[in-house]
Amino acid sequence: MGFDPWFTISCLTDPVNLLLMSAGAIFGIVMGATPGLTGTLGIALLLPFTFGLEPVVSLLMLGSVYCGSEYGGSIPAILINTPGTGAALCTTFDGYKMAQKGMAQEALNTALIVSVFGGFFGTITLIFLSIPLAKVSMKFGAPEQFWLAIFALTIIAGLASGNVVKGIIGGLFGLLLSTVGMDPVTGYPRFTFGTLQLMGGVEIIPALIGLFAIPQALLLISTGGGGQVGGFKPKRGLFLKTFRIVLKHFRVLIQSCFVGLVVGIMPGAGGNVATFIAYNEAKRFSKNPEEYGTGIYEGIIAPEACNNAVVGGAQIPLLTLGIPGSPPAAVLLGALMVHGLQPGFKLFAQHGNVVFTYMIGLFVSNILILILGSFLVRGFVRVLQVPRKFVAAAIFCLATVGAYAIRSASIDVITMMTAGILGFFLIRFGFGVAPVALGLILGTMAEEGFKLSLIIGAAKGSAWLYFFNRPPSMILIALTIASLIYSLYQEKKKKKEDIPK
């Protein structure tokens, strides 16, 4: 593993890098704190502006956005009973009740402290688990490369859209988009319809910006409003008091971090699922479960520690196998690929400095969030007062300039716009945008694995045997089938639950 500690230290103590990470963290907190906007959108919007940076700095900045957004979601959840992100939904149960009791600052401090703790927990596990898992990826050849992409897609398809068949169609559509342009083997153009600009294929980043940013901006048309929060005046001296109270609930904290970590590692599940489990488990193990939902500290500790532990957990399969554990991790996968960093053992062996600096940098990001969160909380609360019409207009303009700035090409802006409008309908018709985005990101890897397997398999006597008979392939196929069955079971169960309602 090529890892130079001095490189990491110099990188993480560089004032410019720290400034960029702080900017990323603030941007992430703002994204998380604005209802309707998400960390995924934040990473997608910021991605084009990190192109000119060193890969490690770019990843550190995007990682800070991811960490910041998970904490930011708790601010509106506590103050206005509206979760900033899906993962902060459970925080509303007790956070808003605490705010109603006049304990808004205590609730916000709790969310900040446990978010940072959850972030630390996830990062430590990421560092220790990623190396052994990356070694597993060494056993992977071309067929496994293909099956891994299919496995990731089936999981995201099942969990992200809620309708397995529609999710798979979305994933296949994403894979199909990745085949647009000149075929790398034969040199023949595919699905270009005679357009020269499509010869190079569909650019991933503009498509990601469109898929994640534009539908959100279009959905903001409906919500309108903004400015719902009244005056919030933080008092001094409450931080340490809150810290002591949090320490008294250490068991809930650790338990929730574990839940976040395990669910985060499971590809596709993400914070939305994890926080519900963590909240339920905390309630189940509590001596006074009836107090949950009345405004207690544990009700904030469980979901907030959990959704930040997810950040580290979701990046374990991302960095080691190339399978994102959550939608923001899917966009981070795009960032890795854009910088020429292929997840897996090679990433650790050839770019050890980058990956280890990034992982250790997540600690620094969390420390920055702790500092920024405690000093700039009044500013973040003001984000809630910004009218949604301004947010929507800014997203349209930022998405356009972001798509254009990548390589100053008109086709990228058109790609972003088309993907954005399409994304709105994909969401509304139940397909979701995450399977399409992941299909587009993993398409090249899947096709390469598929074609190479056919060629090597044919040379060895049977392409089919080579495809299906290798033990790692068999495990991945079994996991794919199991995830499909599980997703179908979940879908059926959810429908049964919905019928009485």
Binding site: F49, G52, V165, K166, I168, I169, L172, F173, L175, L176, T179, D183, V185, T186, Y188, R190, F191, F193, I214, L218, L219, I221, S222, T223, G224, R388, K389, F390, A392, A393, A394, F396, C397, T400, V401, Y404, A405, S408, S410, V413, I414, M417, G420, I421, F425, R428, F429, G430, A446, E447, F450, K451, L454
Partner: protein, 150 residues
């Protein structure tokens, strides 16, 4: 729209689209055809499942509201402004378009009190344009398209 009807239409559209795209692959050698070909057959297969699942849901009252909480009129106006923006940046100029578009979108989304909101909207549009100019043109050195205006 009834969810069942929507699924029928979507399944039919996906199948037709896939067949059309399969036709586009005809002149390509096998190596280039096989992967997208399998994907397209996969999409036809999945749309058939979607169709049959919809068929089994007879009597279902589940609905899909594409524009339930988003007014269709406003949506269309905003999307049109967005499309004009994308065209405008290459013909009118990036910063002029940004100013016009941010003013227009905020105006459309201002609702009943749009007249009162005009000064605030204009202040926002001017600030956003200046911010974009300073950050993208001056700091990040992004070269914007040569157009009629700035």
């Amino acid at each position: 729209m009834n969810a069942r009807t929507a699924d029928f239409i979507i399944a039919a559209l996906i199948s037709l689209g896939s067949v059309f795209l399969l036709g586009q692959l005809q002149d390509i050698p096998r190596e280039g055809y096989i992967f997208p070909g399998i994907l397209l057959y996969g999409m036809i297969f999945c749309s058939a499942i979607l169709f049959f699942r919809a068929l089994l849901k007879s009597g279902s009252k589940e609905t899909i509201h594409v524009f339930k909480d988003v007014p269709l009129g406003k949506w269309m106006v905003v999307v049109t402004i967005f499309i004009l923006y994308v065209i405008g940046i290459f013909h009118i100029g990036f910063f002029t378009s940004t100013f016009l578009v941010s003013s227009a979108i905020t105006l459309v989304l201002s609702g009943e009190h749009w007249k009162k909101a005009i000064p605030g909207n204009l202040a926002f549009a001017i600030s956003l344009t200046i911010l974009f100019y300073l950050f993208f043109a001056k700091l990040m050195m992004v070269r914007f398209p040569d157009a009629l205006f700035f």
